[in-house]
Amino acid sequence: MPSFPRILLGLFCLLVAILLLAPTLVVIPMSFNENKSLAFPPVGFSWQWYENFFSNPDWTTSFVNSLIVATIVAVLATVLGTLAAFGVTRAAARTGGLLRALLITPMVVPGVVLAIGIYAVYLDAHLVGTVTGFVLAHTMLAIPFVLIAVQASLEVFDRRLETAAASLGAGRLTVFRTVTLPLILPGLLSGALFAFITSFDEVIVALFITSPYLKTLPVQIYASITRDADPTVAAVGTLLFLATSLIIIAGLLIGMRRGRT
C-alpha cells in the first residue's frame, strides 16, 4: 500500500502530464470531425480530412516543399554546424567563446526581427519564394542547434584518441573518419534532427519569404486556419504527431540498446 505522499506525488505528475499533452491530444479527435469546423468536442466520425490532405494539391505540394527544404537544411546545417563546433571547441578559449556567442545569435534574436531583415535583403536579391531562399534562411536558423549538440559531444571526446590514432599511422582525415566521427555521431545526428525540425516547423520567416508559388507546410496551415477553419489542419497535426512519436520511440529504443552494450 503506497503511502499518502506517494499518491499525492503520483497525482501531481499525472496533472503535469495532462497539462503537457492535452493540447496535442485534443487535435486527434478533432481530425475525425464530420462537420467542417474546428469545434471541440467533435461531432460524428469521418476520414474526409485525411482524404483532403492527401488529394488537395495545396496540402501535398506544401508538404513536399517542407520535406525538400528541411532535408537540404538538415544536411547543410549539420556540415556547417559541425565545422563550426570544431573551430569553437579547439580555438583558444577566448576566441572560441566569442565565436560561439556570435554563431548562436540566430537563436536569441526575435524571429520577427530576423524575418524583416531577411525579407528586405531577399527582395533585392530575388530570393523571395525560392527554395534557395528558404534553405539559406533556415540553415542560418538551424546552425546554432547543430553547433550546441556537436559541441557537447566534442567536449566529452578524448582528444588523446586522435593522438593515439596518429601514432598508429592514421593521417588527419583518416583519424576524423575512423575515430572522431564515429564517436561524436550521436551528437551529430541529434543536431541534424534538430536542424530538420527547425526548418520543418518554422513559420515566422517562412510567412515573410513565401510566395503563391512556393509555400511550406506551416505557411499552408497558417493560411488555412486564418481563411477557413478547415479540420484538415487537425488531420495534418495528428499525422505529424504520429510521425514525431515514432521517431522519438525509435530513438529511445536505439539509445536503450546502446546503453546495454
Partner: protein, 371 residues
C-alpha cells in the same frame, strides 16, 4: 611479429635538442643516444622534460633546435603518422567504439593488410599479451590492466622498430604493476624492438631498463645502467632520486686522497676527493650502514655517528631505521635479517666504511626538486 628481420630495433640519436614553449624552456641541450634494441628509461620528477622528450621522438611536437634521428634518418618535420613508432599511453587510449580485435587490427588496416593475414597477426599480438580470449569484448568491459595489455598489443602488432611508453602502468595498483613490468620485460626480450619508457618511479626504472636517463629541470643529469646510477651517481640529484640515502653536510677538509668532514664533535673520513673547488656532500646508502650499540668496538676504516632511533620499520626481509644524528640530520639504515633489533628512542651509532661514502658536489636545488 616474431620475424627477426622486421623486429630489429631502431637507434635514436638526439643531439643538442632544445624545446621551448613560448618563453618556457622545457628541454635544454639534450644529448641522448639509444642503441638498437635497448630498453631505455627516461626517469625524472614531473616537469623534468622526460615526457617532452618522448613526444619529440613520437612526433607529437617538434624540436625548437638540435637534431633528432631515428634509425639514422632525420625525422624533423615528419608527422607522427609517418614515423612508424608504437606508442603506449598512460590512459590506454583504446578506441571505445571498436572491439579489442578491431583496435589491434586498426594499424594493420591502415597499412593495407586484410583478411587472413591481418587476423593472424592480430591473434599473435593478442596471444603475446595473453588477451586472445577477449578479442570480441569492448574496452569498457575490461579492467585497467587488461586495457593496457591490449594497448601494448596494438602498438606492437605492426612490428615498429621502436616502442614508446609514457608511464603505462601509472594508473594501476602495485601488484598488477609489478606483474606487468615483468611481462613488458619478457616482450622486450622476445622482440628485440627498441623500447623507450617514461616513468617517475625509480624502482620501476631499475626493474625494467638496460640504461636509465635521469632528467631534472629540462636537462639530463646522468645516463647509465641502474647499478652505475646507484653506486656512482654523478650528481646529488641522481644520488637522491635513485634509491634512499643519508646526506651529510659539514665543514670539509682535503687531506691527501681523503676528504674529512666535521659534524659537530664528530669527524668522518671518505676515501675520495672532489676534483675542482666544489663544496662536497657525503652520501651513504642505507644498506652500507650498520646500526651499533654505543660503545661497541670501532673497526679500522670505520666511521661512527651517534644518534637516537626515531623510526623502526620491520620489512620482513630486514628492518629499516631512521636515526636522528647529533646535528639534526636523519640517517637511514637498513639492517639485514638477524641483525640486532633497535626500538624507537634507543641510543645508537651509525657505522659505515670510508670506501662506502659517495662524495658529490653540493647542489641545493637537488633538495628542492624532490619535494
Amino acid at each position: 611479429m616474431h620475424d627477426p628481420k622486421a623486429a630489429t630495433g631502431a637507434a635514436i640519436d638526439i643531439s643538442k635538442a632544445c624545446k621551448r614553449y613560448g618563453r618556457f624552456t622545457a628541454l635544454k641541450d639534450i644529448d641522448l643516444h639509444i642503441r638498437p634494441g635497448e630498453f631505455m628509461t627516461l626517469l625524472g620528477p614531473s616537469g623534468s622534460g622526460k615526457t617532452t622528450t618522448l613526444n619529440l621522438i613520437a612526433g607529437f611536437t617538434d624540436i625548437t633546435s638540435g637534431t633528432l634521428e631515428i634509425g639514422g634518418k632525420s625525422v624533423t618535420g615528419l608527422p607522427s603518422h609517418k614515423r612508424n613508432i608504437g606508442v603506449v599511453f598512460q590512459h590506454y587510449a583504446l578506441f571505445p567504439h571498436m572491439t579489442v580485435g578491431k583496435n589491434v587490427a586498426y594499424p594493420l588496416t591502415l597499412r593495407g593488410l586484410k583478411g587472413e593475414e591481418r587476423d593472424r597477426r592480430v591473434r599473435r599480438a593478442l596471444d603475446m599479451v595473453k588477451m586472445a580470449d577477449f578479442a570480441h569484448r569492448y574496452p569498457s568491459e575490461l579492467s585497467g590492466g587488461q586495457q593496457q595489455r591490449v594497448a601494448l598489443a596494438r602498438a606492437l602488432v605492426f612490428d615498429p622498430p621502436l616502442l614508446l611508453m609514457d608511464e603505462p602502468l601509472g594508473a594501476l595498483d602495485k601488484k598488477l604493476r609489478e606483474w606487468l613490468q615483468l611481462e613488458i620485460k619478457r616482450i622486450h626480450r622476445e622482440l628485440g624492438t627498441t623500447f623507450v619508457y617514461v616513468t617517475h618511479d625509480q624502482e620501476e626504472a631499475l626493474v625494467l631498463s638496460d640504461r636509465i636517463a635521469v632528467f631534472n629541470g629540462g636537462r639530463i643529469e646522468q645516463i647509465g645502467t641502474g647499478r652505475e646510477l646507484y653506486d656512482r651517481p654523478a650528481t646529488l640529484f641522481v644520488g637522491r632520486f635513485i634509491g634512499e640515502s643519508t646526506v651529510l653536510r659539514g665543514k670539509t677538509q682535503v687531506c691527501g686522497d681523503q676528504t674529512v668532514m666535521t659534524l659537530g664533535e664528530e669527524t668522518i673520513t671518505a676515501n675520495a676527493r672532489l676534483a675542482g673547488g666544489a663544496q662536497p656532500v657525503m652520501l651513504v646508502r642505507p644498506e652500507r650502514a650498520v646500526l651499533k650499540r654505543p660503545g661497541a668496538e670501532v673497526l679500522a676504516g670505520e666511521n661512527r655517528l651517534t644518534g637516537n632511533v626515531v623510526e623502526a620499520i620491520y620489512l620482513g626481509s630486514g628492518s629499516k631505521y631512521e636515526v636522528r644524528l647529533a646535528d639534526g640530520t636523519t640517517a637511514i639504515v637498513r639492517s639485514p635479517l638477524g641483525a640486532a633489533d633497535f626500538a624507537i628512542g634507543d641510543a645508537a651509532e651509525v657505522a659505515f666504511a670510508s670506501q662506502d661514502i659517495i662524495l658529490l658536489p653540493d647542489d641545493a636545488s637537488a633538495d628542492v626538486t624532490l619535494t
